[in-house]
């Protein structure tokens, strides 16, 4: 963390709304992108990111080390995503035709991948989804993933292995799904 970011964190912790505003702008896009890849739904993503940032504002005064801000914020986001994913599982799913999802240029292969992987990914538990995204999208090492989730490295490794195996199986299965997208009701 550089001196400017550390200063923003310290000032935000002290109650400076403007400093927090700048901090939010610097992290929002990345948080949104990561959360979306976990939850695969815009409204759930917005809820998760919003919840995490509000929690960050409320709890920031208790953060002991400003240099830990990014890791701490990631943990808040992971927690919010986990709670949103659980809410997703309780909601009935309706199936809509989503004609805007796929462009004319998309190959049949890509479309089949997207649909098969979307379905397979959403069947994973939140724990498995989050490990896959943190490792393969955020680029965290397994040690960093384990630290972010508060789990042993071995558990992170086995969750990643399981999640990737299910996703590879989904691609390997020879079925071209219809162009539908399942969304929460």
């Amino acid at each position: 963390m550089n001196a400017t970011q550390r200063d923003l964190v310290e000032r935000s912790a002290g109650g400076d709304h403007l400093a927090f505003d700048v901090l939010v702008r610097s992290v929002l896009d990345r948080m949104y992108a990561t959360a979306y890849r976990i939850l695969r739904d815009q409204e759930s993503t917005k809820d998760a990111v919003q919840s995490a940032l509000w929690q960050a504002w409320r709890d920031l005064p208790a953060l002991r080390d400003a240099d830990r801000f990014e890791a701490w914020l990631r943990r808040l986001l992971v927690r919010s995503c986990y709670e949103e994913a659980r809410r997703q599982r309780r909601q009935p799913i309706v199936t809509l035709i989503d004609p805007d999802r796929y462009s004319v240029a998309d190959s049949t292969h890509v479309i089949a991948d997207r649909d098969a992987l979307d379905r397979a990914f959403m069947r994973l538990s939140p724990e498995h989804r989050i490990v896959v995204v943190l490792h393969h999208y955020e680029g965290l090492t397994l040690v960093e993933v384990a630290r972010a989730l508060g789990i042993p490295v071995g558990t992170a490794r086995s969750r990643l292995h399981y999640g990737l195996a299910r996703l590879r199986d989904a691609m390997h299965q020879d079925d071209l799904a219809p162009l539908v997208r399942e969304v929460p009701a």
Binding site: A13, G15, H17, F20, D21, V24, R25, L28, D29, M31, Y32, A33, Y36, R37, K46, V49, Q50, L53, W54, W57, R58, D59, L60, P61, A62, R64, R75, L76, V78, R79, Y82, E83, R86, R89, R90, D113, R114, L117, R123, L124, S125, E127, H128, V132, H136, Y137, A148, L149, G150, I151, P152, T155, S158, Y162, L164, R166, L167, R168, M171, H172
Partner: protein, 285 residues
């Protein structure tokens, strides 16, 4: 299902393409939506960062409590928040809420007193001695503390979870989840992964409840990822645990209250759990 190596490399490439597919920016206006309520939000006091992580160290706790007392005395006009009573013997005059359990994140050790659930519903009220905090016995998933369906508290020796199951995990690995059975007690007693004693009728929180106690069965079908059974969406049980399951019917369904501790310490943990559960009340129906 066997996948050849070159197929696997191709699949990994396709998987990365799929993972990259998605928005890279937050929606327009989202930042303003987040910031709008921030100025009016209540926050944790700044002095809370100075309290120790390990409250089991009495000397550090007393020294830090003394330091906090000095800081708060100096800053009391600015923060307008009185120093909380951290003494185990002091009798509180009003309930705390569970989001105020000790300091900060789950597992932080809190003060004695009466607590009302912050998010868990139906709202419950209970009394704990000092040394209890939010969180489960297992390290588990970071930050999963109290939710509308799950309230875990622990003193490090064991944990008590007040939960409203929303799913039960099918036996075997992975995330497959099954709906909560109509008769949870019958399901528990017939569950091949559990070795339970006879069910007993008790009164809990002023209501009829059924209690069973036991362990995982010797041939329990453990999840290979976690080496545990996920009894419900929130309850994780391991071979080393002994546990007591109490079922209470409420307007919104069945509540499952689980007292868990390592089997070799369960008899030590039992009276502390009993005392807390004996104080349990429903604030709302």
């Amino acid at each position: 299902m066997s996948i050849r190596l070159d197929d696997r490399e191709e699949m990994d490439r396709r998987l990365r393409t799929w993972l990259d597919d998605g928005p890279d920016y937050a929606p327009h206006g989202f930042h303003d939506q987040i910031m709008a309520p921030v100025p009016a939000m209540q926050r944790r006091p700044r002095w809370s960062r100075h309290l120790p992580r390990d409250a089991s160290s009495g000397v550090r706790w007393l020294a830090s409590a003394a330091a906090v007392l000095v800081l708060v005395t100096i800053a009391i006009l600015a923060f307008t928040r009185p120093l909380p009573d951290v003494g185990a013997t002091a009798e509180p005059t009003s309930d705390f809420t569970t989001n105020d359990f000790g300091v900060g994140r789950s597992g932080q050790i809190g003060r004695a007193g009466w607590y009302r659930s912050w998010q868990f519903r139906p709202q419950v009220r209970f009394r704990v001695p000092s040394g209890w905090g939010l969180g489960g016995l297992e390290p588990g998933f970071v930050g999963v503390d109290e939710t509308a369906d799950d309230l875990p508290i622990t003193n490090g020796l064991g944990s008590i979870q007040i939960t409203r199951p929303t799913s039960v995990d099918a036996s075997g690995p992975g995330g497959a989840q099954a709906p909560v059975p109509t008769d949870v007690l019958v399901w528990l007693l017939a569950n091949p992964d559990l070795a339970l004693g006879p069910a007993a009728q008790v009164t809990l929180a002023g209501r009829d409840a059924v209690v069973v106690e036991g362990t995982l069965s010797g041939d329990a079908d453990l999840d290979p990822d976690t080496a545990a059974i996920r009894l419900t969406n929130d309850v994780i049980l391991r071979p080393r645990h002994r546990f007591r399951l109490a079922l209470i019917s409420v307007a919104t369904g069945e509540l499952l209250i689980v007292s868990i501790a390592p089997a070799d310490r369960f008899d030590l943990f039992r009276p502390t759990s009993d005392a807390i559960l004996a104080s349990l009340e429903f604030v709302t129906p």
